[in-house]
């Protein structure tokens, strides 16, 4: 071989070295880029997963908005294929009571949303589901537009849940103006504090009070707020809701924008359950000493003002021909509807009280102020009566009123129980009834009390101008209460030395036919 011939063109040697170097450096570069690329890929997958989750949430929000905006939120459904929207670089599909959106139970809305974010030729999914109550923008067991007044050392109030299985489900209590605890002896959800306490329920008889909340045995907790400001059982109860209206303001004695919670002779707003329950021994200047009051927490919530209109009830009663036979037997042979004057109603009550096997059905509208003076069972144990009073309703001392529904059906649970709507134009001069209570047809419900008075009702209990419970009365309700005030200075709800057992069923609030409230949320994927 001629070496000289090979070495003669020397310039190529440097080129080979440079090319080799470039190749090696390029290889290293590619290796590093590969590592970084994997990192970026993993981070991108994570980002896509997170985006998919939030897209699914956006789908739920869209579904909520559509339901709330519907003319009848309770009837709103989507097609089985769902509603798909492109959004945020991906897409979501939502279903309402259609397609895969099932499982929340009869009467409740099932909302489901599936989000898909495209990434590397595949879709990264997330699926969430919520259960809701359509027809009500809130899920509060007892709500008063104006003041709620809880007084009397013998007062026992339980705001439990209906159908509670494991411990939990307590109902909330709220007002647009003030929730006032007038007496340190008021017991609210005080579950067998010192000794076992029994409550009498219409369906199961006497049961320990803790069973209302799903406890299989008496919970062991320290009732002394000085020792334990937050007993561990608080989580089973509902909230004290300091509500404020979505539009305008509602004045209250505390001077706060939202409703306040106050105690004893003060209108100072209390900020927490611990403060409400706190004792003077706590050395807290604002301790209220309501040591027998157990609620989960206080919270503010903005809510629309709700009201029931008399027209649908009146129309429904006019169309209700189910009581023709009862009318006939009670002395109204030609009456085909279920609209009564108060005098007609007294005649009907007289007949029903002597014929226990007979019962009313459907919507019954009574025009005028009604004072019930003898025990009355409107519809039997599985009824469907809505008693609409176009005036005030007064239950005389020791008089019991029963209006039970068939609670095995969603329709039975959603049917309003007693609605006290008031006169179209209240009377000018008030009339004094029991306990110094005055009425003038504004839509008040007064329970005159007495040790044998029991007011048993299901579904929604609505008053246009509030409810008063006098000493000794016992209320046993499965449903919800909403008490308006019709612009009067009356409190929306007043109780004095009485017992109230309210097992909250959110379906009862669907009678308002407005809005939507989410009750639970779960992630399926």
């Amino acid at each position: 071989m001629n070496v000289q011939a090979l070495l003669t063109p020397e310039r190529g040697v440097a080129m080979i070295a440079v090319l080799a170097t470039i190749m090696i450096v390029t290889t290293i570069g590619f290796a590093l880029v590969g590592v970084m690329d994997t990192d970026v890929l993993h981070a991108s997958i994570q980002n896509a997963v997170a985006r998919s989750f939030y897209l699914a949430q956006a789908g739920l929000e869209e579904a909520k908005g559509e339901i709330a905006a519907a003319v009848d939120p309770r009837a709103y459904t989507t097609p089985a294929r769902g509603v798909t929207r492109l959004y945020g670089g991906g897409r979501f599909t939502y279903w309402v009571d259609a397609g895969p959106a099932t499982g929340c139970g009869s009467g409740f809305k099932t909302l489901e949303a599936l989000a898909e974010v495209p990434f590397l030729k595949r879709d990264i999914p997330a699926r969430v589901r919520a259960c809701a109550i359509a027809g009500s923008p809130m899920a509060i067991a007892l709500f008063g537009v104006s003041r709620i007044e809880l007084g009397g050392s013998a007062t026992r109030i339980y705001l439990a849940g209906y159908g509670t299985d494991t411990p939990g489900g307590g109902g909330s209590l709220g007002s647009f103006t003030e929730t006032h605890f007038a007496d340190t002896g008021v017991h609210l959800n005080a579950l067998s504090e010192g000794a076992m306490q029994m409550v009498l329920l219409r369906d199961v008889g006497p049961v320990p009070d803790y069973a209302l909340f799903g406890f299989p045995a008496r919970p062991v907790y320290n009732p002394d707020p000085a020792a334990d400001g937050s007993p561990w059982i608080l989580g089973v109860f509902g909230d004290l809701v300091k509500a404020r209206p979505q539009t305008g303001t509602v004045l209250n004695a505390c001077g706060t924008v939202a409703a306040c919670v106050s105690a004893r002779d003060s209108h100072a707003d209390l900020e927490s359950i611990a403060t409400l329950r706190g004792t003077v021994e706590d050395m807290r200047h604002d301790a209220a000493g309501m040591r027998h009051v157990y609620m989960r927490r206080m919270r503010e919530q903005q809510l629309p003002q709700l009201a029931l209109d008399r027209a649908p009830f009146l129309e429904s009663a006019k169309r209700n021909a189910a009581n023709i036979m009862v009318n006939k037997h009670a002395g109204f042979p030609d009456k085909t509807d279920s609209v009564y004057s108060n005098l007609d109603f007294y005649q009907l009550v007289g007949y029903l009280s002597t014929h226990r096997g007979e019962a009313l059905q459907g919507t019954v509208y009574v025009a005028g102020i009604v004072q019930v003076v003898r025990d009355l069972d409107l519809g039997g144990p599985n009824g469907d009566v809505t008693l609409a009073i176009g005036g005030d309703l007064i239950l005389g001392e020791d008089v019991s009123l029963t209006n039970r529904h068939d609670l095995t059906t969603a329709a039975g649970r959603a049917t309003p129980g007693v609605v006290v709507l008031g006169l179209p134009t209240p009377a000018g001069r008030p009339t004094t009834v029991c306990g110094g209570q005055t009425i003038h047809g504004s839509g008040r419900l007064v329970l005159c009390g007495g040790s044998s008075q029991r007011f048993t009702t299901d579904g929604l209990l609505y008053t246009a101008d509030g409810m008063t419970i006098e000493p000794g009365a016992a209320v046993d309700q499965i449903g919800a209460m909403y008490h308006n005030n019709r612009g009067t200075p009356n409190s929306s709800f007043t109780v004095e030395d009485a017992t109230v057992v309210l097992r909250f069923d959110p379906l009862a609030l669907s009678a308002f036919g407005r809005g939507l409230t989410i009750l639970s949320w779960q992630q399926l994927k």
Binding site: V3, Q4, L7, E10, V13, A17, A20, T21, I24, V25, I28, A31, L32, V35, M36, T38, D39, H42, Q46, V49, G103, C104, G105, F108, R129, C131, A132, I133, A139, G161, Y162, G163, T164, D165, T166, P167, G168, G169, S230, W232, I233, L234, G235, E271, S272, R296, R297, M298, R299, D505, P506, L507, L519, S520, W521, Q522, Q523
Partner: protein, 206 residues
């Protein structure tokens, strides 16, 4: 033109010098390559830890999204409550899933029907993030440790720190839960091998 005789030796020297220089260049490139390999290995380890911490957070996210901030249904255990020594980042909260916290979400009247309590904590000895499902109660224990922490599931490794904080801080009605996980690449220094992941989770149930 022809080369002179003296020019023959110069070509060999030239080639040797060239080869030597080439060898030096290759050696230096090799050094760079070794460094790159080390860096790649570190990046790989770090990546594995990052993936680990992301997976740990993914495993926690659903159960935390599905729980509630109601008092006494979610408890964060500070050192004074017993979360100290071998325990770190201790939290307990309810779940509505039955079948040992992995079954269907249980409902009652449209609302969550709480079924069990889930405890999460970091075991300081093993640097594992652990999860325990306790179906015997729907109330997290008041003090740490709860009655039983076995059997448990390992949802993260190399976790050298974990913390849970309710937000807004100090508010009686918190609205979210801040989660911080701190992992470290095995054998690495804190400066080079630490990975932090912070996120805020909103428990969606009332």
């Amino acid at each position: 033109m022809t080369r002179s005789r003296s020019q023959h030796g110069y070509v060999i020297v030239d080639a040797l010098v060239g080869l030597s220089l080439f060898g030096l260049v290759i050696l230096s490139i090799y050094q760079v390559f070794v460094m790159a390999l080390v860096l790649a290995q570190r990046a790989d380890d770090r990546l594995a830890v990052q993936q680990d911490v992301r997976l740990a957070l993914d495993r926690m996210a659903r159960v935390l999204h599905e729980t509630t901030l109601a008092p006494d249904r979610l408890r964060i255990y500070p050192a004074e409550a017993g979360c100290t020594g071998q325990y770190d980042g201790c939290i307990g909260f309810v779940t509505a899933r039955d079948a040992n916290c992995g079954g269907p979400f249980q409902l009652v009247n449209g609302g969550p029907n709480w079924q069990a309590t889930i405890y999460l904590w970091r075991d300081a000895a093993s640097n594992e993030l652990r999860s325990r499902c306790d179906p015997s109660t729907t109330f997290p224990a008041v003090e740490w440790p709860p009655p039983a922490l076995t059997p448990h599931t390992i949802i993260g490794t190399h976790v050298v720190g974990a913390s849970f904080t309710l937000q807004p801080r100090g508010n009686a009605a918190p609205s979210s839960l801040a989660v911080t996980l701190h992992e470290r690449v095995p054998g690495a220094s804190p400066r080079r091998g630490d990975v932090y992941l912070q996120t805020v989770i909103v428990p969606e149930n009332p």
